[in-house]
């Protein structure tokens, strides 16, 4: 049965399958000594990483290709399981795959580097599909999807298929889809890659504005220096480890 998301923002609830809702500043997700190895342990993608993301926090992660940034996002979203260590989301330690599904459905929005839109669905339908099982009624899903397309500035593209959209428009659709169920945490992989500088800047502006307007935490993996510096917290990675973790000095404009 389709159900709307419970209106329990900020109120810890045992009944919420996606875990309790922390207030701003409290840890939303925590990684404790998390490692991820592939190929029987020969490839170390992430090595003993400790990280806590607070509610409402905007975190940029950068580093050379292959340093573990995308693996970090996958583990934070529960898309992959750590080889060692623990991921805690909203107080729930090492959620099961089914619990991660619930968490991703209502608490986490994921936007992939290569968009990952479904090619047979229009821009609006790509957003609606994320609401199946969460928002009752096709008309209501359509209304909310259109509103999200307006929020990301491409309502005029709603009936176009992904292949009929520009890279920037696809990125916006992917971001709108990740916002479909009003998540607490947005995980975004390289949102400005493959975009010209003007489009990249516009997408970065839009992301930061949306997160701040909704008090939504965001972890954004980026090579875009401009976007990196405009985030509240900066993490640099190298060889599966966190090399530096610092905050933007107070008074420096985003």
């Amino acid at each position: 049965m389709d159900t709307d998301r419970p209106d329990s923002a900020g109120i810890p609830s045992e009944a919420d399958p996606a875990g309790a809702r922390p207030s701003a500043g409290e840890p939303l997700v925590r990684l404790e000594a998390v490692s991820r190895r592939f190929d029987g342990g020969r490839i170390v993608a992430l090595d003993e990483v400790d990280l806590a993301i607070a509610a409402g926090e905007i975190v940029a992660v950068t580093g050379p290709s292959g340093c573990g940034k995308s693996t970090l996002l996958n583990l934070t979203a529960g898309l992959d399981e750590p080889s060692r260590g623990t991921v805690i989301f909203a107080g729930r330690r090492s959620p099961s795959p089914a619990q991660w599904t619930d968490i991703r459905a209502v608490r986490i929005g994921v936007s992939f580097q290569d968009f990952n839109l479904i090619p047979t669905l229009t821009a609006q339908e790509n957003i609606e599909v994320a609401m199946f099982g969460r928002v009752a009624g096709a008309a209501e899903r359509a209304r909310r999807a259109l509103r999200l397309l307006e929020d990301v500035g491409i309502a005029g593209c709603r009936t176009r298929l992904p292949q009929q959209l520009s890279g920037g428009e696809r990125r916006r659709v992917a971001i709108a889809r990740s916002l479909a169920n009003a998540p607490d945490l947005l995980l975004v992989d390289e949102p400005t890659s493959n975009l010209d500088s003007a489009s990249g800047r516009a997408v970065a502006d839009m992301l930061l504005d949306l997160c701040r307007a909704r008090a939504m935490a965001m972890v954004v993996v980026t090579h875009d220096r401009g976007l990196f510096e405009r985030c509240d917290r900066h993490i640099e990675m190298l060889d599966g480890r966190i090399l530096s973790d610092g905050r933007r000095p107070i008074g420096v404009a985003a």
Partner: protein, 372 residues
């Protein structure tokens, strides 16, 4: 967009494959309806034919491989008439004879005192007179041969005259040639012999009494088979073999349909592995993914089953009306089989889609997303 629209979009992305799968299921279901209909038709035609003539029990020789090879002494009928609870009994000599050019028909001979003559309705003419070389033709057969009362036809080795046209409703009866028993015995060189004895009961609805009468008749002579009219063909070994073969072919058709859906859905899951990862990443539960793939299989099987049911219905109808008149099964019964086959297609479609959907639902989102 509804979930159903989403399913249709998925199926429409490979229209050729979806259409061929639907056609595969349709042909399999149509085959099922035809084969099974044929098997049922033989049974039902005989049952309706005997029902119409108000025959309750049939006495034949036990263990006959082929129906017409049953041989009983004609005088046995007197002993059967004396069994308490038997209202009447009549002997019948039956066989297949050639009419004119390669046209085969069921020919039955009854004695002058048979209840069959008394309860028969004639569309035209009169009853055949013994020893006069006269026969009655079923209206369907007469129409097929283009013959009427007074015309002559060639029956195996000799010419006979049509004295009248019968008016039955069962297809088998409408295609039957009837003549006096003694005449047929002479033609078939079977003096004093009959194929079966038809029994009318005083209380046919009384199951316990019927069983007692069956036992009593069976005890009259060794090697007697006494069966309710509806079981007449069920006990015949050659027809039973045909029936089993037809049923096996019908079931094989359905297995092929199931494999067709399985193959299509397995390919779809293989091609859409990455998309399944996307759906898992945006919060789709394993159950929802599983239901989606199974539902796609169900749509293919449902459309194919409906189409196949319709094709099978039309095919069976055409077969009994135009190709093998008299072999047929009633339209209502074909419809029943077509509906059952359509339902079976739905079940096997979902079974065929289960394995691919189970595989899809088990995929780790990260693994699925890494696939190109």
């Amino acid at each position: 967009m509804t979930h159903f629209t989403f399913l249709l979009r998925n199926l429409a992305r490979r229209p050729g494959r979806s259409i061929f799968t639907i056609l595969g299921v349709a042909l399999a279901v149509a085959g099922f309806v035809l084969f099974y209909g044929l098997a049922e038709g033989m049974q039902q035609t005989a049952r309706i034919s005997l029902d119409e003539r108000d025959v309750h029990l049939i006495v034949t020789k036990r263990g006959t491989v082929e129906f017409f090879s049953s041989v009983l002494p004609e005088r046995l009928v007197e002993e059967i008439r004396r069994v308490p609870g038997v209202a009447d009994a009549t002997p019948e000599l039956a066989g297949l004879m050639t009419l004119g050019d390669d046209h085969q028909a069921l020919v039955a001979g009854w004695p002058p005192d048979s209840f069959e003559w008394r309860s028969m309705a004639l569309a035209a003419g009169a009853l055949p007179r013994p020893g006069m070389g006269e026969v009655l033709l079923g209206d369907l057969l007469a129409e097929g041969l283009g013959k009427g009362t007074g015309d002559e036809i060639e029956l195996d080795w000799g010419k006979v005259r049509i004295s009248g046209i019968t008016r039955f409703t069962a297809t088998l009866n409408r295609s039957m040639v009837v003549l006096p028993l003694a005449d047929l015995q002479r033609m078939m060189v079977k003096p004093g012999q009959v194929t079966l004895i038809e029994v009318r009961l005083a209380a046919p609805a009384d199951a316990a009494a019927t069983e007692t009468i069956r036992a009593a008749i069976t005890g009259l002579r060794p090697n007697l088979a006494v069966a309710p009219a509806e079981d007449l063909l069920r006990q015949n070994k050659s027809l039973l073999t045909i029936r089993h073969a037809a049923t096996a072919l019908a079931l094989l058709s359905l297995v092929v349909a199931s494999l067709s859906v399985l193959n299509t859905m397995a390919m779809a899951v293989e091609e859409r592995t990455r998309e399944i990862g996307i759906l898992a990443a945006i919060g789709w539960s394993r159950r929802r993914i599983l239901v989606t793939i199974v539902a796609e299989g169900l749509i293919l099987a449902g459309v194919g089953g409906t189409l196949g049911g319709g094709l099978g219905y039309a095919g069976s109808f055409a077969l009994s009306e135009f190709v093998l008149p008299g072999s047929g099964i009633s339209a209502a019964a074909i419809l029943q089989i077509a509906l059952a086959a359509g339902f079976a297609a739905l079940v096997i479609g979902s079974l065929g889609a289960l394995w691919p959907s189970w595989r899809a639902a088990r995929l780790s989102p990260a693994t699925a997303l890494r696939r190109q």
